[in-house]
């Protein structure tokens, strides 16, 4: 069994985690064009090499980031998202009242 080091729970079997996709900047959904949104939602760098990606420890619902080599499957580093995200990202769309 492959082991992943969870920043919150320590080393665990990789079957306890789910993969959440590569880390990419989200355009503002209220102001970006349809094409920009499609690019964000559907397109992928799909890099063969070291990438930064989201993972979640299922049992504790804890999301974190990992640096992993997508050819050798080596997990180089896992870390708390606070290293990158200093403030909360709001997804709610402001409703226009008529």
């Amino acid at each position: 069994m492959k082991i992943m080091n969870c920043p919150l729970n320590g080393p665990r079997n990789i079957s306890e985690f789910i993969h959440g996709g590569e880390l990419k900047p989200m355009p503002n959904p209220t102001t970006c064009s349809d094409r920009e949104w499609a690019d964000y939602v559907f397109y992928s760098d799909n890099t063969a090499g070291v990438i930064t990606e989201w993972w979640m420890h299922v049992a504790s619902s804890y999301w974190f980031l990992a640096e992993r080599h997508t050819v050798t499957d080596e997990i180089l580093r896992t870390f708390d998202p606070q290293e990158i995200f200093q403030e909360r990202i709001e997804f709610a769309v402001e409703e226009k009242r008529s």
Binding site: M1, K2, S15, I18, H19, D34, R35, A38, D39, V41, F42, Y43, S44, D45, N46, T47, A48, T70, V71, T72, D73
Partner: protein, 413 residues
């Protein structure tokens, strides 16, 4: 002593059938360069030569012919998809497959066994009804069948696996299998006979793009000019596209499969269950082939993992409990180029004369002939996308016009 044994045994001069001419130097320039010598790339080359008289073509393969996903898939041919676009496209492929051995004068061992997909939930039964009707509408032979009919068709199948009793089946009479590497060799042989150059051990290192057009391809054996180029590199689609300067809606996941030692014939149809993430077929040699769902996270690696094998074997044994004692003979993996809607990407790219044959995920083998034929038509016409593959253009993602085949594809191949 038989005369032939004496004659050829004592002489170094004996008749040899040469399917592919020996390798030669790359020419400085080709009308069409096809990157990737799998079934798809070779099929495009063959149809370009056969129907469009375009033979100044080079197929570049970094390793050996059909060494990628062409010979790693589980060789399922079927057209029982969900959308009208999908069914129309894959039905044409099944028709071409049926005549392929005759066309090549080379046995691809096409065998029409029928494919049985199992429903374990009401939701799946509903989707089966829809698929059966869409299939019939386009001339396919697909019917809903009940437990008794399933029992008659596959007596050895366990209809009550654990917590997931089988409720109904989708019986697709057109389902078939073929020797997948023979399909690649057949295309290669016939393409080479018509003058196409096939270069193995020729890796593309860089694409030369000038003013939005591809002008040359740099390889480990030198640079060649090209009138246009097609990429057909399956799991590595994104890597090559990046060299051309654009991204794709593709993520590469490994898919693992395995095969047992030969046992006596017990299974005629191809049987699959998406709820159990397992599909099973017995080859003409008697081996039982198991395939399942993709790996849980992206990777450019064909390694096998114990976890995936364990879950696949667990499901396989639920379906056919007596296989518990069977010994595994081989296991392998392939890197699949998965798209968000489980449909392929064919047609134009952001580069004017650079065409895409990508996003074939876990469903590429069955489309080899029709993809080759339609892509050849497009290349020959200078980029006019044939009607049959219009719905599968890259632009569909930006336009939110996806062709959703997830339900008819995931782990049911």
């Amino acid at each position: 002593m038989p005369f032939g044994l004496l004659k050829y045994g004592l002489s170094s001069d004996y008749p040899v059938d040469v399917d592919l001419p020996p390798p030669k130097e790359l020419k400085p320039s080709y009308d069409v360069v096809i990157i990737g010598g799998g079934g798809h790339g070779l099929a495009i080359a063959y149809y370009l030569a056969k129907y469009h008289n375009i033979t100044n073509v080079a197929v570049l393969e970094k390793a050996y012919l059909g060494g990628g996903n062409t010979a790693r898939n589980t060789a399922v041919i079927r057209s029982n998809y969900l959308t009208s676009e999908g069914v129309k496209f894959y039905s044409e492929s099944v028709k071409l497959f049926q005549n392929l051995s005759n066309e090549f004068d080379f046995n691809v061992m096409y065998s029409e066994r029928g494919q049985l997909t199992l429903a374990h939930t009401d939701a799946t039964v509903r989707s089966f009804r829809q698929r059966a009707e869409v299939n019939k509408h386009f001339g396919g032979r697909t019917d809903m069948i009940d437990r008794q009919q399933i029992r008659e068709l596959v007596p050895s199948l366990n209809l009550d696996p654990g917590h997931l009793p089988v409720l109904a089946g989708l019986w697709h009479r057109d389902g078939a299998t073929a020797r997948h590497d023979a399909v690649a060799w057949g295309y290669a042989k016939e393409a080479a006979k018509r003058g196409v150059e096939i270069h193995q051990l020729t890796e593309v290192r860089n694409l030369v793009i000038e003013g939005g057009r591809i002008t040359a391809v740099e390889t480990n054996r030198g640079t060649i000019q090209c009138g246009c180029a097609v990429q057909a590199v399956a799991g590595h689609s994104s890597v090559l596209a990046k060299q051309a300067g654009f991204r794709l809606p593709i993520i590469s996941y490994p898919l693992q499969a395995m095969v047992t030692q030969p046992v006596k014939p017990f299974l005629d149809p191809l049987v699959s269950s998406s709820a159990l993430h397992c599909y099973v077929q017995q080859t003409s040699r008697g081996e039982v082939v198991f395939g399942g769902g993709s790996d849980p996270y992206p990777l450019y690696n064909t390694r096998s993992t114990l976890e995936m094998k364990e879950s696949l074997i667990a499901s396989g044994i639920e379906m056919f409990p007596f296989l518990a004692k069977a010994k595994l003979m081989r296991q392998w993996g392939g890197v699949t180029d998965m798209t968000p809607d489980y449909s392929p990407i064919m047609g134009e790219s952001p580069i004017e004369n650079y065409y895409l044959d990508a996003g074939w995920g876990t469903w590429g083998f069955k489309a080899t002939p029709i993809c080759g034929k339609t892509m050849a038509e497009m290349v020959a016409s200078g980029g006019k996308v044939p009607e049959l593959i219009q719905p599968f253009r890259l632009e569909r993602f930006a336009n939110f016009q996806q062709v959703n085949e997830m339900g008819a594809t995931a782990a049911s191949h």
